[in-house]
Every structure is written in structure tokens, then in C-alpha cells.
Symmetry: C2
Subunit: 531 residues, 2 copies
């Protein structure tokens, strides 16, 4: 499958000219063809103006139509076949098996949002009928539902070239809500982005949608990204990436004449707490599971456990011993880009150079620099050191974790309370541990979007109940998830219709309930029709 | 009932000292006793630190407990009797009948949120049970619900000393969600604020809640307000007031190390569109209704219709004639403060001084300056003038509206499309008008939070389906309402529990569904229990 290396603007390739760049195969450190051309400022403006026009023209489309569109995108992605996986593998260094799974997740996610859009009750339709005889004042008929916000800008992430990228969760949920989408492709996998964008475009043609329902922009990081956030037509932003970049987008959005929401998923240490009973019973299994979790995807998961807290006791040494053995034997791995590898090594060196931080173990296999490899390692420190040095509570994006030994349970809780916002927090405990763990669990619920018991935080299920979010700086807005069906709520706003005749109401609010939605009528949930 | 003139900090009066101020009776332009003492920076910090501690200590409280608290607040406000109404009347100049109605609305609102908290399904509980046999990977048990954010700062508004103030919609919805609240009293009605705060405090004592569940801060506008928004313990802000003040709070919140959401309801022109058929059939009634609506509360409603658009035609002159006659006979009224009166006069002069803007009519009764009075008036202009002069699309907070004559229907739609975000937009049309009004209605749905047909926007019903919100600058976040039960969603965030034993789950997520909530199980709504 040949790539043209251009932005895809409302169905048309962008112009050649301006700066260009190539993707780098991290396993060989060599550039991949073709060159990709950055969109010009005029092209960025046109993409968003066109997205606004398409949104205005097309927003009466039904949930069933949106569902068909999302399902067609999934089929078209699958129809790309191996060429998509091969290109993603070349650009990211991620194993084909992982990418096959990620493609399944991406298409499953599109189909889940299709179901949500087709069923339709997510619009939270509410009807408070007229009460003409109410005293002292009558009530007029009042109905509301959620409508899409408008054009949404999505930034592809580096670490999930499919599932959190061009047709990932942000795009799927925005399209399901009825928004139009302009994606800024991640520079690390522009070819993968182009392929997925062409699949979306084919789905647009098949479904007869306005071409500007979707556009893909290639460009260098900050300038084009900030321009996309500042464009007056942009109504919301989805982002997964670094704290610095995420905060820059948030600041730009907040400084607009008309501020807009930015849903930035940024950084998380995903602390893991091992309570004494669990350590006594399952030290070996926990150590093995921990290494698997913090080295998964070469540690490049936003839910990677980067901090482990335990109370020093009779089983601590056996646990650390097992952890060290397992880490020593762990494989090296190719990181996504040399930039990510360099940043990881720098951050890890900063942390291991801190007073009172000791390297416990590192994988013994020699890393191959030309393959952009790095190797897993684990450090230890005391709770006192941890509490005194905030650098220990900042994310190292790669296969590294720090075990913090606490003197007692209250120091462990103090560590938990000291943490900033996290995507996840995990506790390992047996029944006796957990019976006394209320202060810890309460502290973790305050700082984390997801609390995991006796498991590991990597692996984010795409389902109704998932919350992939959390207090700042894990995300920019703890009130929303970026994974699971509730992610759609980021891209919608309520509109109220007062005293409308039935014929002029949206179908979701008509008396006959033609869409069969679950609605709140007089505050009571029902699927009934009204006379 | 005697007033101490002090902040109320976790149940205790604040310190005397620092700056003080008195409320002014606008109907006499004389100061009211006692003097009110501004809280010191240390008191502001303590109030929020205490609110955070109370929140951390008390958040396991049940919805039923919160409901009892809200109902007790309502009873205690009612128990204040006439002294509350008298003080509010003295401080605001609002008629006793209006204040009696507003008290009813305030207490009704508290009881509505009590119902919501007691029923409990607003927490949007979701359960995706474990699928141990799923291929290729099993699914662990995943459940989520909404939990309260933390301490919320509420700014009392000038124009609703009860319903949008100390125990108004922001406070009621934040307490219903389980947040603690620190209110900044509006300087125009500090005595009313103190009385309501004492009612809340009595409810805290009766219900045995931590005293710092609620505090009231007196202070001069910007400095103390910004300090409250910037305090690290503050997790969200509710505000009703001017664009300048609202934006300053938004900017301060966005610039925090950890940004927080600000729900600011700021400014709205509430455009009203009169289509030709309606004008032919009901010119007199519409003119009369319009005058009632734009002079209600001396034009000091956030939903006051400040712009009226019509297509010049055979019935225009009769309408304008009737409008002029009605406005000429309209009563003068006392505004809330001399500052609001001055700002109104200044803004009105600016608008009526614009090229092509003509004063159509003004009430003929002589205004009494010493009573802080102003009088209703109406101006006219052309659509061409309107589109060329953005000042015409800025809010004049007082009894004034501008009628914009359009040459044809497409110019009317162009005017609609030119507008910034609004709380409401209204259309008057007969069946024939509305059959052709899709472009107009679609444009209005884009810019407004509530679209009203054949009615007037003033009068905001407190119910499930209400949306009192809208795109910027009507509010800072169009995704939320500040009136009606959905207002609670501003102050909550999801938390996910993964692989928790039933006993450790919150009641809302337990298998037995002990609270009888409507929950999403496997994505399907149900009140059933699980085995």
C-alpha cells in the first residue's frame, strides 16, 4: 500500500511544500519512506473551517447513521490488513502480536461506540411536561437532550499508534457524539496515521457523509498543535501525551477569547501498595506480576506502576530478592523513539541519583543502542526519602519502578496522601489487610481515577464502567474518562427546548419516543411513550 | 434578629478587624447596620483548609443523610420568617412578594436536590462483572460511580439574594453531591447572607455534620475571591455575575498549578426573534409580553431579552407602536445597587449613542435618583447596523432592549448566526412561520442553552429537564447547567473500582443493590440485584 505523505484535508491530500520529515524505524534507527509534508497554517485553518461547516450542515444525522459510520471505519481498518500492522511495527517497534491486539481493541472500541450511538439513550433525554394548572404559576413543557459540541481536535499519542491515535478512543467517542474531528498525527507514526485516515475517508464516502467530517494534519509538535487548539472553530480537544505538552494545550485553550475544554491525559505513577498479609502469602507472585506490568510495552503505558509502597517487615527481603531476580532476567526492549528513550534514561538517572535511592537490580542482557533498546530496572528508597524528594513522584516513561519501604502502616498512608492525581492506584492485600485498609483506600480514592485490588493497573478494559482519568496532573479534568462509553460525555452539551410542538422536537424528545430511549420523564426513568 | 457582621467559619464567627463595609438600602441610599468585617487572608485559608478536612472526614455519608441536611436547611431558612425577607428587601430593594417567591424557589430547590440525593441514581453507577472465561483475555470485575469533588467555592450573585446566593442552586447541588462549600457573600446583601448562613449552620448542628461542611466569607470583590479560587484545597467554583469578574476567576483557576473547573454564568442577551405570521396575529400580545419580560426585576435577570429581531413588514409599525406605548407606561424601578444602576446607564448610553440606533420610547414617569431608580426604554436599529457594531451584542443589565429590523428572513438568520453564546434564544412564530424556520432554529440551538418557542425566556423552571447554561460567554462551560437537577454533575467525578470484594464496595455498587439504584449493568439499565 503506497503512502503519499500528505495531510488529508476533507478527503483531499494536502499540498507538497514547507517542511517535511520521515518516520524512523526504532529497531534499525533508519528513516522510513516516504517523506511527510507538514500542513501549512492555511491548510490547518481550512481543515477546521471545513470541519465547522460540515458539522453545521450535518448534525441532524441520526445515531443509527453515526453507528453505521463507526462500524464502517472498523471494517475499513480491518480491510487494510497486514500492511497496517507492518507499517505500525516499522514505525513503533512494537511487536506484531501486540499491534494485532491493539487493532482488535481499536475496532472493538469503534463498534462499542457504534452500539452506544445506535441505542441512543446516552443523550440523557429529559422531559418535564407542561403543568398548566400548577399553582401559583403554571409550568411550560421543558425537554432537554445532549447535542454534539462541534469540531474536536484530537492529538494522536505515541504509545498506542492505533488505539489512542487517529481512530482511537477520542476520535471514536467524538464521532459517536456527532462531532467532526481533525486529528494531529503523531510524528512517530505518520504512515500508520495516513493509512487509518484513508480508512476513515473510505467510510465517509461509503456512508455519504460530508468529506470534512474528518481531516488528518501532519506537522511538527507545538506550533501547529497550538494553532489547532486556538482556531475559533475548535470546540474541544483530546490529547494523550506528556505533562508539558498537555499543559501547554490547556493553557492555550484557557487563554482563548472563548475558552474550550481540553481533555489531556498526561502523567501518572500508578502507585501500588503491598500490604503485609499479601506480602507474606504471595511475595513471589506479586513480584512476578509487578515486573510483567511495569515492563509491558517496554514500560511505555500510561498505567505502568512506577511506585511500589510496602511496610518493611519479615517478608520484605524475600520480595525484593525475587523482584531483583526477575528484573535481572527480564528482556530488553525497543522503545518507541530515540527521543522517548533519551528522556527515559535522563529521568531514570535523575531519580537513581537522588540521595537515598539505590538501584536494586537491572536486566543483565546487553542493550543494543542501534535498536533503541533499554532494559528494565528497579530502585529502592525509604518513605522518608520519598516524602522529602518530590522528583521521586514524577513519571519515568519506561521500564523502571521504585520500591518505597515504609516503617509502618501510617507512614504508608502518609505516602499515599502525599501523592498528586493518578490514573490508577493498586492495593495488594489479603482479607485481614483489607479489613484495616480503610484509611489507605479512602486516600487512594481521593487521588486516583481507578482503584485496583490484587491485580495490576496495566490493561484498561474498554467498557461502560471503565474510568481512565483522574485528578490533575494525571488528566486535566477528573470529571471525565477517555476510555469506555462514558468518554462520549466529553463532547456533548445539553440543549433545552421549551414549549416546542412535538413535530419540531428532535426525535429523542418526541412524545412517541420513536427511538425507544430510556428517558427521565418527570424525573423518573422510563422507556414509555407519552400520549 | 440581630446580625454580628462577621464571616462564619466552620460554625464560628470570624474576627473583628481589617476592613469593614455596610450594606446600602437602594430605596433610600442609606447604609444599613451593622458593619460587616472582611475576612482576613488567614481566615480564608483556614476556611478552605477546614473544608478540605471536613470533606476528607465525612465523605462516606449517605445520600439519605445529605437529603436530610438539605431539607433541614430549607426548614431553617423558612424558620427565619419575615426577618429574612425584610433584610433581603432592605438590602436589595426587591419587592417582598418577589422575595417571598424567591424564598419558595430556594427551599423548593433544596428539597429537589434532597430528593435527588436520597434516590441516589444520579451517581451513574455502572457494573461490568468479571468474565473469567472470555477469550483471548478474561475480564476482571469493573465498577464505577460518581464521587464528590471536594471543597467548592460559591460566589453569591447580586440579583437573586436567595436563589443564587448562600443557599442557592450552586450550594444546594454541591452539598447534594457530597462536597463541602465555602461561600463568598455578595457585598450587596451581607445581612441576608449571614441569616441564611446561620440557617445552614443550625442544620449542620441538627444533623451532626462537621462544622466546616459550610463557611461564609465576607470580603471585597477581587482579592479575596481570587484567593479562594487559588487555594489548593478548592476543587471547583460556582459563580453568577459579570463577564469581567467571571473571566478573572476562570483565568485564575486555569493558571493554578492544578487547574480546577469554574462554572461561571456571566452574560447573555437572550435574543428574541419574531417571525412575520406571529407578528401579524399577535403583535399586541407579544409587545406586552416582551415589556413584562425585559422589565421583570427591573431588567436584572440573566435571561432578560435584550435583543429583538424581526423582519420589517406590514405589521412592524403597529408592533413598534404598541411596544412604545407599553414602555412609556411602564413603571420605574429601584435597581439592586447604585453601582449596577450606574453601569446600566453607562452601557445604555453607549448603545443608544451608536450610529443608526434610535430611542423608540422610554417610560415617562420621573425617576427618583435617591431611590436608585431607573426606567425602562427600548431602542431600534437595522440589521445592517447591528451586524456592523458588536457593542450592540453586549449585555445591558437593566430594563432596556433593542429591536433590530431585518430586511428579510435571510438577514434575520444572519443576525442569529452572528451571535455569541447565550443562555436562551426565543422564537415567536405561527405554524406557517415555524414550518420554514429550520435554519433559524438550527442556528439558535448552536448558540443557546435553551430555545423557547412562543414564550419569554425569563422564569427559569427548577426541574430535571432545565438547562440554564450555554456557550461562552453566556457561561464558561456549555456542558453543564446551573439550574435543575443536572447541576449536581458539575461537582462530581467518576471513580472506578477494579476487582473489589463486595464488602469493600460503596453501597451503590454492591451486588445486592441495597440503595435500589438504577444502574448500568453490562451497559444495560436495571434496578436488579446481582447474585
Amino acid at each position: 500500500m503506497s503512502l503519499h505523505g500528505l495531510s488529508l484535508l476533507a478527503g483531499h491530500p494536502g499540498k507538497i511544500g514547507g517542511k517535511s520529515f520521515q518516520a524512523i524505524n526504532p529497531t534499525t534507527n533508519t528513516p522510513l519512506n516516504p517523506s511527510f509534508h507538514e500542513a501549512s497554517p492555511a491548510e490547518v485553518n481550512a481543515a477546521l473551517d471545513d470541519a465547522a461547516a460540515a458539522f453545521a450542515a450535518d448534525r441532524a444525522r441520526s445515531g443509527a447513521d453515526r453507528a453505521k459510520f463507526l462500524e464502517t471505519i472498523a471494517s475499513e481498518i480491518e480491510a487494510l490488513g497486514d500492511s497496517l500492522l507492518q507499517r505500525a511495527h516499522q514505525e513503533s517497534g512494537l511487536p506484531l502480536a501486540r499491534l494485532t491486539g491493539e487493532r482488535g481493541r481499536t475496532c472493538g472500541q469503534l463498534r462499542l461506540f457504534a452500539q452506544l450511538a445506535r441505542e441512543g439513550s446516552w443523550v440523557d433525554a429529559r422531559i418535564d411536561p407542561a403543568l398548566p394548572d400548577r399553582q401559583p404559576l403554571p409550568r411550560v413543557d421543558i425537554r432537554r437532550l445532549l447535542v454534539p459540541l462541534g469540531p474536536v481536535v484530537v492529538f494522536g499519542s505515541s504509545n498506542f499508534p492505533l488505539a489512542f491515535s487517529v481512530a482511537g478512543g477520542d476520535t471514536a467517542s467524538a464521532l459517536a457524539a456527532g462531532c467532526t474531528v481533525v486529528v494531529k498525527a503523531h510524528r512517530a507514526h505518520p504512515g500508520t496515521s495516513e493509512l487509518v485516515a484513508t480508512a476513515i475517508n473510505r467510510a465517509i464516502v461509503i456512508c455519504g457523509l460530508p468529506p470534512a467530517t474528518f481531516s488528518l494534519i501532519h506537522g511538527g509538535g507545538a506550533t501547529i498543535g497550538i494553532a489547532m487548539v486556538k482556531h475559533p472553530a475548535t470546540t474541544a480537544v483530546g490529547f494523550t501525551g506528556s505533562s508539558a505538552a498537555g499543559r501547554a494545550l490547556c493553557d492555550a485553550a484557557a487563554a482563548r477569547p472563548h475558552p474550550i475544554p481540553v481533555f489531556a491525559e498526561m502523567s501518572s505513577l500508578n502507585p501500588l501498595f503491598i500490604l503485609p498479609g499479601a506480602l507474606a502469602e504471595r511475595a513471589t507472585a506479586i513480584a512476578a506480576g509487578l515486573v510483567t506490568s511495569f515492563t509491558l510495552g517496554v514500560g511505555q503505558f500510561c498505567t505502568k506502576p512506577g511506585l511500589v509502597f510496602l511496610v518493611r517487615g519479615p517478608d520484605t527481603d524475600a520480595f525484593l530478592q525475587k523482584l531483583a531476580t526477575t528484573v535481572c532476567a527480564a528482556p530488553t526492549g525497543t522503545m518507541l523513539t530515540s527521543g522517548i528513550r533519551d528522556a527515559f534514561l535522563e529521568h531514570r538517572a535523575k531519580v537513581t541519583g537522588l540521595a537515598g535511592v539505590h538501584l536494586l537490580a537491572a536486566a543483565t542482557t546487553v542493550i543494543q543502542e542501534a535498536r533503541t533498546e533499554t532494559s528494565p530496572s528497579v530502585a529502592t528508597t525509604s518513605a522518608q526519602n520519598f516524602l522529602a524528594q518530590p522528583t521521586l513522584a514524577t513519571e519515568a516513561f519506561g521500564p523502571f519502578t521504585v520500591v518505597v519501604s515504609c516503617e509502618n502502616a501510617s507512614e504508608l498512608v502518609a505516602c499515599a496522601r502525599s501523592l498528586e492525581g493518578q490514573l490508577t492506584a493498586t492495593v495488594h492485600g489479603n482479607a485481614a489487610d483489607l479489613a484495616g485498609a480503610h484509611p489507605l483506600l479512602a486516600a487512594l480514592e481521593r487521588i486516583a481515577g481507578r482503584v485496583v485490588l490484587n491485580g495490576f493497573p496495566t490493561g484498561v478494559e474498554v467498557c461502560s464502567a471503565m474510568n481512565h482519568g483522574g485528578p490533575y496532573p494525571a488528566t486535566s479534568d477528573p470529571r471525565f474518562t477517555s476510555v469506555g462509553t462514558a468518554a462520549i460525555l466529553r463532547f456533548a452539551r445539553p440543549v433545552c427546548y421549551q414549549n416546542f410542538p412535538d413535530a419540531l422536537l428532535p426525535d429523542a424528545l418526541k412524545n412517541a419516543n420513536p427511538l425507544g430511549l430510556l428517558r427521565l420523564v418527570e424525573g423518573q426513568p422510563t422507556r414509555e411513550t407519552r400520549a
